[in-house]
Symmetry: C2
C-alpha cells in the first residue's frame, strides 16, 4: 500500500502563524524509548501556548499508526515527527476558543550519519531573546532555517548560535556541551533555544568529573573551550573536531560516560 | 458551488518551520489597489529568506482566482490572504534546493469594525530583536499570537509591543504613529515588527505639520505621547483613545490628512 499523503487545512494556524509545537522522536525496534520525555515537553509547550494537550488515547493512536508506517517503510529504525497545532481557524492572531487542535505524525528514515567529528563555527546570525518561547519546541523555526543555510553556505557541518545578548546557546539543531578548564557546561534555554530531550537525559544522568553545570556561556569564553559536543534526540551525541580554525579535543574526558548515559536511556544510541 | 477547502502537504516547510511569507490584501470592487506594494514586500521577504519569487503570471492566476471567490462569497469587499512557502521538503532545517515553492490565496470577509477609538496598553510580552527577520511578513508569528492573547485577556482592543531592548515597536497587528510635542513619529522596523503597507503609504504621502519622523521610541517616551494611531492594510487607520489609564487626543492635528493620504491611495479607506 502506498503511503497516503498527509494534508492539512490551509487555514490551520500551524501554517498561518507557526502556532503549534512538534516533537522529533527516534524509534527503536518499533518503540519510542523517550516518549514520556517528549510528551512532557509537548505538554509544557501546549500549556505555554494555551493549546489543549491531546489525551493519551489520541496520542497513542496517532503514534501507533506512525510506528506501523515507520516499521513498514524503514524497518523500525526511524524518526517520528509529531505535530500539534492550535487547529484551523479564522484569520487574526488572537487564539479563538473552541477550535479543535490538529494532531498528526509522520515517519522518516534515520538521517544519514554526519561526518563525525564535526566542523562547526560561530554563525553571524544571532537568536532573538524571547523568554516566552524559549525552551519549548514550537513551530517558529525561521532562525534555525536561516542558521542552517548560513552553516551550509560556509561549508560547516553545523553552526553555533549565540543569542542577541551574546551568550552561546545551541547549534542550529542541537544543544551544546562545552568543556572549559576541565569542567563541562551546557547553557540554559530560558532566553532562547530548545530544552532538548537528550540534553535532559544528560543533565540528569551524566556525572562527569567536576560535574555538569547549567550556566550561561558568554561568547568571550568560546576561545577557552577545550572540547565541544552536540546532542539531540535523533543523532545522540556528536563530537566537534574544530570550531573555526581552532581544533578541539576529539576524545575529551567524560565523553565515554556521556555516550553511555544516553545509550542506557535510549538503546538506539548504543552504537554511537 | 461550495468553496473547495484548500489543503497543504503536511510536509510543507511553511507548516514545519513557518518557512514562508504572507500578505493580507484588502480588495476594493474586485481589485487590489495596493497589490504592487504587497508584491514588493513579498519579493523582499522572498529574497531575504532565499525563496524563489513566483513570476507575475502565477501570482496573477492565484490572485484572480481568489478575487473571483471573494466576489462570489463577500461581494467584492474582502481580504485576500496570499501565502508563499519554500515548499514541501524532507525533514531538517536547511533549505533544500530544487523544491517548488507553495503559493495559494484565500479570501475572507472584511473584519467587523473594532471599537474606534481604541483602548490599548503596553503588553508585558516583548518582541525578540531579530534584524534578519524584521520588516518582512514571515510566517513565524507566535509573538503576535501570544501578544493578541494577552491583549484579549486584559480586555484591550489591541496591545502595544516593545522590543527586548525597550523600544516601542508596533501593536499586535498594526504599525503605530505617536505624536510627541506636536510632532509625529513612527518606529523603524529593522529590529522587530513588520514594514506595513499602510505605514509605507503614510511615510511617503502623509505630510503632517512638523513632518513624520521614522525614529526609535524608547518606552520612557510613552508617558509623553499625546496621540496614537495604528495602521494596517486591512483596517486602515485606527485612533487610540486611551493607553492604560492615560487618555489620548482622539482628534489630533494631522489625523485628517493621514486618513486622506490613505484614502487617496486605496479607495476602500475613503469612509474611514
Amino acid at each position: 500500500m502506498a503511503a497516503e499523503a498527509v494534508v492539512v487545512d490551509a487555514a490551520d494556524r500551524g501554517l498561518a502563524y507557526g502556532d503549534g509545537l512538534f516533537e522529533t522522536i527516534r524509534t527503536h525496534r518499533g518503540t519510542l524509548p523517550w516518549w514520556l520525555r517528549h510528551r512532557a515537553r509537548l505538554a509544557l509547550g501546549a500549556a505555554r501556548l494555551g493549546i489543549a494537550m491531546p489525551d493519551d488515547a489520541r496520542l497513542d493512536a496517532v503514534l501507533t499508526d506512525a510506528l506501523v508506517r515507520a516499521d513498514r517503510e524503514f524497518g523500525g529504525e526511524a524518526v517520528i515527527k509529531l505535530v500539534l497545532t492550535r487547529g484551523a481557524g479564522a484569520r487574526g492572531y488572537a487564539p479563538v476558543d473552541g477550535i479543535a487542535p490538529t494532531l498528526f505524525a509522520t515517519a522518516s528514515p534515520v538521517p544519514a550519519a554526519t561526518p563525525d567529528p564535526l566542523i562547526v563555527d560561530l554563525l553571524t546570525l544571532r537568536l532573538g531573546v524571547q523568554p516566552a518561547l524559549a525552551g519549548i519546541k514550537h513551530l517558529n523555526r525561521l532562525e534555525q532555517v536561516l542558521g542552517a543555510r548560513e552553516a551550509n553556505e560556509r561549508g560547516l557541518d553545523d553552526g553555533l548560535m549565540a543569542d542577541a545578548d551574546g551568550f552561546l546557546t545551541c547549534s542550529t539543531r542541537a544543544n551544546l556541551f562545552a568543556r572549559i578548564d576541565g569542567r563541562w557546561i551546557t547553557p540554559p534555554v530560558d532566553h532562547a533555544g530548545v530544552a532538548g530531550v537528550a540534553r535532559g537525559v544528560l543533565i540528569e544522568q551524566w556525572r562527569p568529573e567536576g560535574g555538569l553545570r547549567v550556566e550561561r556561556l558568554p561568547l568571550a569564553e568560546l576561545g577557552r573551550v577545550e572540547a565541544l559536543t552536540l546532542s539531540n534526540a535523533v543523532r545522540g551525541i556528536l563530537v566537534v573536531a574544530r570550531c573555526g580554525a581552532r581544533p578541539l579535543d576529539p576524545l575529551p574526558d567524560g565523553l565515554t560516560e556521556a555516550c553511555a548515559a544516553l545509550a542506557a536511556s535510549h538503546p538506539a544510541f548504543l552504537e554511537s
